[in-house]
């Protein structure tokens, strides 16, 4: 059973290598869907096992607990839906000449590698391995960001790889410090393993851990898109091919958060909940505030979504920072909710952009008329991102709010609410203008690929489902995850 943990990332790697030899688009799509859905199934099994055993471990460095399961679930869900969406999307791209037939294998292989690296990141117990794979995600995804090889794409890729690598190297430094702290606290065997360090967190030298955590927060925070280290994010997420954007925004930045959460746990153990919590709170609110003006006056659809990711990462950090069982619960829940919604909206954006041949939102009109499904999903997604029920994000934001009020962070909450309302205004303004009205006759109507609609509907179902209820299973997972995070 526990061997699944290393089989899981092996699946996409193998498939990816196989893909390099395949030329046919349909077959590639098939392989893509097959591997991702296999991942889905395996994740399901792993989750069940973890729920029974509490945690799983394989070959000393692969480890899965409730937190891992949360992130695994998100990655699996998004990979599957993205794979399905890619079918229709890729057909359009190839038809419109946006993607050369011969480069398809490379694209799909890279995607698989990307997914594999993300999987290992959240499965790694060894913090060094976590760092290595995190860097690997940067490299693979950077290639995908620049895949179109046009000037903007390459610029975005360059900014992305340079800035995040810097961040990551900070992360490495932090890791080293914590490792040193652990080593000196007397951990000889597996002094780099999260489980070991977390177990002995209370004996670590708080001063080292403090500096270490700062490096980690800034470093991995850069990759997670926390302001003010976020500036590469809108560039990269707006330039990447749509399915990749969905994965970047939905899953990848969450992996960086996973890293932060791991060290957060250690920091809580070493220097008490106050320190790391307050830092997260600070950067959370900064991110929310920093994202607002760019969302309000944004013209580029995908950049808008990028800045939205910044805001929502901020909200997650806010939840973690407010802390306590409730705040952490809210944060973890928000990880899932935002991932799902953001992927959905990126899918919609892809459709809109292909349809209207533009990124500027002012030129997009009457989307509902042009593409009934995508248009409706656009409004649903917008309202969900804006935090209205019955969509999932409302629930997690509600919980963040409640935790904040319970913690008497009145000022933070006030700022948070102001920004959320402003962002709401901006978002509904943009979405409404795009969705309603009459599209100009040049715009093709209907003809939405079934695969795309299917992928989006899957996400919508999850989005609304989680908005209307949190099934007991999920609740237990999250509660466990909270315990792990808070180090009980």
């Amino acid at each position: 059973m526990s061997s699944l943990l290393w089989i899981l990332p092996l699946v996409p790697i193998v498939v990816g290598l196989a893909m390099l030899g395949v030329k046919d688009r349909r077959l590639l799509n098939l392989l893509d869907v097959a591997s991702t859905s296999t991942i889905g199934v395996l994740v399901w099994v792993v989750a069940r096992a973890v729920m029974q055993a509490g945690s799983l471990r394989a070959v000393k460095t692969f480890y899965a607990d409730a937190v891992t399961v949360v992130f695994l679930g998100l990655i699996a869900l998004l990979s599957v839906t993205t794979a399905i969406y890619t079918i229709g999307w890729m057909r359009r791209e190839v038809a419109s000449g946006g993607m050369a037939e011969r480069r398809l294998p490379k694209y799909f292989a890279l995607t698989q590698a990307f997914i594999a690296t993300m999987l290992i990141t959240v499965l790694a117990d060894n913090l060094g391995l976590l760092w290595i794979t995190m860097e690997a995600t940067t490299i693979t995804s950077a290639l995908l960001v620049g895949f179109r090889r046009d000037s903007d794409g390459l610029e975005a890729a360059w900014k992305y790889i340079i800035v995040t690598t810097i961040g990551i190297s900070f992360g490495l430094f932090g890791t080293v410090l914590v490792y040193a702290a652990a080593a000196h606290a007397g951990a000889s065997e597996g002094a780099m393993n999260f489980t070991t360090i977390a177990a002995m967190a209370s004996q670590l030298d708080p001063n080292i851990v403090r500096i270490g955590f700062i490096f980690i927060l800034i470093g991995y925070g850069t990759k997670a898109g926390l302001a003010p280290m976020h500036m590469w994010l809108p560039d990269a997420h707006s330039q990447a091919p749509t399915p990749v954007s969905a994965l970047l925004s939905g899953a990848l930045i969450k992996c960086a958060l996973f890293g932060i959460i791991r060290f957060h746990t250690i920091a809580i153990g070493a220097c008490g909940p106050g320190f790391s919590g307050h830092l997260l709170l600070l950067f959370g609110i900064i991110s929310v505030v920093a994202a607002t003006p760019f969302i309000l006056t944004q013209q580029n659809f995908k950049r808008l979504l990028g800045y939205h990711s910044v805001e929502h990462v901020g909200i997650i950090a806010l939840g973690l920072g407010i802390g306590g069982p409730l705040g952490t619960y809210a944060a973890l829940l928000h990880v899932i909710n935002h991932g799902v919604t953001k992927a959905l909206v990126f899918f919609v954006a892809g459709d809109a952009i292909d349809r209207y041949k533009t990124h500027t939102m002012d030129k997009i009109r009457g989307f509902i008329r042009a593409a009934p499904y995508a248009g409706t999903f656009l409004m649903l997604g917008a309202f969900s991102l804006a935090g209205t029920p019955p969509f999932s994000i409302f629930v997690s934001e509600l919980l963040v709010l409640k935790a904040g009020l319970a913690g008497r962070y009145y000022v933070v909450i006030a700022i948070f609410l102001l920004m959320v309302i402003a962002i709401f205004a901006g978002l509904i303004h943009h979405a409404g203008k795009m969705a309603f009205g009459e599209p100009d006759p040049a715009v093709p109507r209907g003809g939405e690929p079934a695969s795309g609609v299917l992928a989006m509907s899957m996400l919508v179902v999850v989005m609304i489902g989680l908005g209307l209820m949190i099934p007991p299973v999920l609740d237990t997972i999250f509660t466990r995850a909270v315990e792990v995070t808070l180090g009980h």
């Binding site: 060094g128 391995l129 390459l154 890729a157 190297s169 430094f173 410090l177 040193a180």
Partner: protein, 218 residues
């Protein structure tokens, strides 16, 4: 070799590392920057060797060798190839005046010492200033990246600052586990390759230095 001798040597090496870093920082010429980076890496390798000798930790020897191969030969060679392929003039125009950068570097060094003065427990491992120098190296490396225009200097700065991390790792905890070190080095090489590819692609398609692109904003 006894521990305190090792500590003494490490101290000296640290000093050299700082010096090389400052040379990189105010280097007005790509070639010089790259060669200095190589030299700096030699010192890293040396540090590894010294520690290895001192602590009889064979891993450290391997790490030292690895550093020697990768940082001293592979990466510089890669950078030089890129320069060659790009056929760019190898003068470096700074975005921030060199004096200013030096001042900032000084500030960074002081910050590094200020910080590490609180880390009492680590002092016992290796006497001397390994940790503050490591921090300083890393941060100054980033400073190089932000203060020099060409993309290649950014790569140089990145590797230099990674040197800082390696140095710290060795100094305060006799390096990370071997397998991790290898993985990290692998990442560095891969990253370097990808960066090089991107740089060349931009040069060939747009004909400009990628670090100058600022189309995406707001």
């Amino acid at each position: 070799m006894s521990l305190d001798l090792a500590a003494h040597l490490i101290d000296i090496i640290g000093a050299f590392l700082l010096i090389t870093m400052i040379v990189i920082l105010e280097a007005g010429d790509l070639y010089r920057a790259i060669y200095t980076m190589a030299v700096q890496s030699v010192f890293i390798a040396l540090a590894g060797a010294v520690l290895g000798a001192a602590t009889h930790n064979t891993d450290l020897w391997v790490i030292a060798g690895l550093t020697l191969v990768v940082k001293v030969f592979v990466l510089p060679w890669l950078l030089l190839r890129v320069i060659h392929r790009m056929r760019i003039h190898h003068k470096i125009e700074p975005l921030i005046p060199v004096t200013a950068t030096l001042a900032i570097a000084a500030a960074i060094v002081m910050l590094a010492f200020y910080l590490s003065s609180s880390l009492v427990s680590l002092k016992q491992v290796i006497t001397g200033n390994a940790l503050p120098i490591g921090i300083a190296l890393m941060l100054i490396g980033i400073l190089v990246m932000m203060s020099r225009r060409t993309a290649l200097m950014q790569m140089v700065g990145l590797f230099a600052s990674e040197n800082g991390i390696f140095f710290t790792a060795m100094a305060i905890s006799q390096g990370m586990p071997l397998i991790i070190e290898i993985g990290v080095t692998l990442d560095v090489i891969l990253g370097a390759l990808v960066m090089g590819v991107i740089i060349l692609r931009v040069k060939s398609s747009i004909g400009s230095d990628i670090a100058d692109l600022d189309q995406l904003k707001g």
